[in-house]
Amino acid sequence: MVDMDPNAIINMHNVSFYYGQSRALTDITMSIKKKNVTALIGPSGCGKSTLLRLLNRMNDLIDGTRVEGEILFEGKNIYASDIDPVEIRRKIGMVFQKPNPFPKTIYNNIAYGPKLTSTNNNDMDTLVEQSLKQAVLWDEVKDILNKSAMNLSGGQQQRLCIARALAMKPDILLMDEPTSALDPISTAKIEELIEELKKDYTIIIVTHNMQQAARISDETAFFYLGNLVEYNKTEKIFTNPDVKHTEDYITGRFG
């Protein structure tokens, strides 16, 4: 197991989560390292997406849910009463399974968030360009910024969503199966992008594609039935995991 790291950007202590009466996560304690890619893996219903959504308070939007324990982001519990969830979501951005661009121009997809939250819109062109460059989309769209984002391919739309998240200048990017709806080439581009982005951002990714977790992550956490079974260096998980259950899962000896 990975020790509590003083350089961690997120520290979770004994986190449990309930949808009504049913418990989705049990007593999770783990730290997420800064500027690392952390992969969350496990079979459907194991709690990995629930955990991801807990990290930027997306579960607040679901009625009847309850969180126990604490999730410290930069030392502060993000579930404390004086914390603004909107501010948390600005610092901890999210990219979803299906690309979900706004039905607006490419330019306005990027500019929408910053315009809402910032009073200083002078450098909007620069911000749009920077964000699209970071998401390695600029060269493909620089001449069609005023066209609708809906005309882009699935892979381009997903990179646009990443650019949109980056425009808010977050510290952490949460990705919930960001490539499961994409073809192999688009997937490779997103994976390449993740490798680039980890120089500046902390990335937490939920994936069902084990090879993807193996390829792009530094640490991997395996969840089963709401429990954190093993959290280890990715290389260790995929060559010689400490827990038999992890091995059974990643080698396909399951159920």
Partner: protein, 232 residues
């Protein structure tokens, strides 16, 4: 610990076929060594020629097993214990193929020795042959049963084979000093002994890979260094 089966029965079968192939290859090499030694002790060069001819089968099996392993790496992307098993299998098949080559070397020396009067009764060489045969068998049993103790036992026998080899060298030196006409035959016998000692190294290599497969720990440079001996 009982291993659970893969959800994919085809994958399970592919891995099992590689295991079976390794056992078969091991049996072929064991037989080759025994026949090579028999050709020497019974002064029967026909047997030696048969070992040389049969080595083609060992080479073929080696290539086939390696191809199967590469196919699994490419198509199944094995991880954890499966990954360690496949990498282990690739190395083991290489060790076994080399053991086959050593049996050929022994046979070639036997043919030459059989053409001359016997220098001395062969006592320690058949003993070494029995020991290396046991090492090969045990190392492959260890592979099938994930048996670390058996792998360790193989490493221990290797030391006995080393000692016997040195003893044979010393003994043959006395022959050579006493009678210069014995030098050619003594050198041939030394090479037979050296080949048996090298077979023991390869069998130990198999056992070391089994330990790696089970524990994930590389032990092969902790005791005796195969590469150093290869260069010597």
């Amino acid at each position: 610990m009982e291993e659970r089966r893969h959800t994919s029965s085809h994958y399970e079968m592919e891995l099992q076929e590689i295991k079976n192939g390794l056992i078969y290859l091991g049996a072929l090499t064991e037989k080759a060594i025994q026949m090579a030694m028999q050709s020497l002790t019974e002064r029967n060069s026909d047997l030696a020629h048969k070992v040389i001819k049969d080595d083609d089968e060992i080479d073929k099996m080696d290539t086939e097993l390696e191809e199967r392993c590469i196919r699994i790496l490419a198509l199944r992307q094995p991880t954890a214990i499966d990954l360690r098993f496949i990498t282990t299998a690739i190395k083991i098949t290489g060790h076994l193929e080399r053991i086959g080559d050593m049996a050929v070397n022994i046979s070639e020396k036997a043919i030459q020795l059989n053409e001359e009067p016997q220098l001395k009764p062969y006592i320690d060489l058949p003993r070494m042959t029995g020991l290396v045969g046991e090492m090969i068998k045990n190392s492959l049993d260890a592979l099938i049963r994930n048996d670390l103790d058996l792998a360790e036992k193989v490493r221990q026998i290797e030391q006995i084979v080393d000692d016997l080899n040195e003893q044979i060298f010393r003994e043959l030196l006395t022959f050579m000093m006493e009678d210069s006409k014995s030098i050619h035959r003594a050198l041939l016998i030394m090479q037979v002994s050296k080949n048996l000692e090298r077979i023991a190294d390869h069998a130990k290599g198999v056992a070391d890979m089994v330990t790696y497969m089970v524990t994930g720990e590389c032990v092969r440079h902790q005791t005796c260094d195969l590469n150093e001996k290869e260069l010597a």
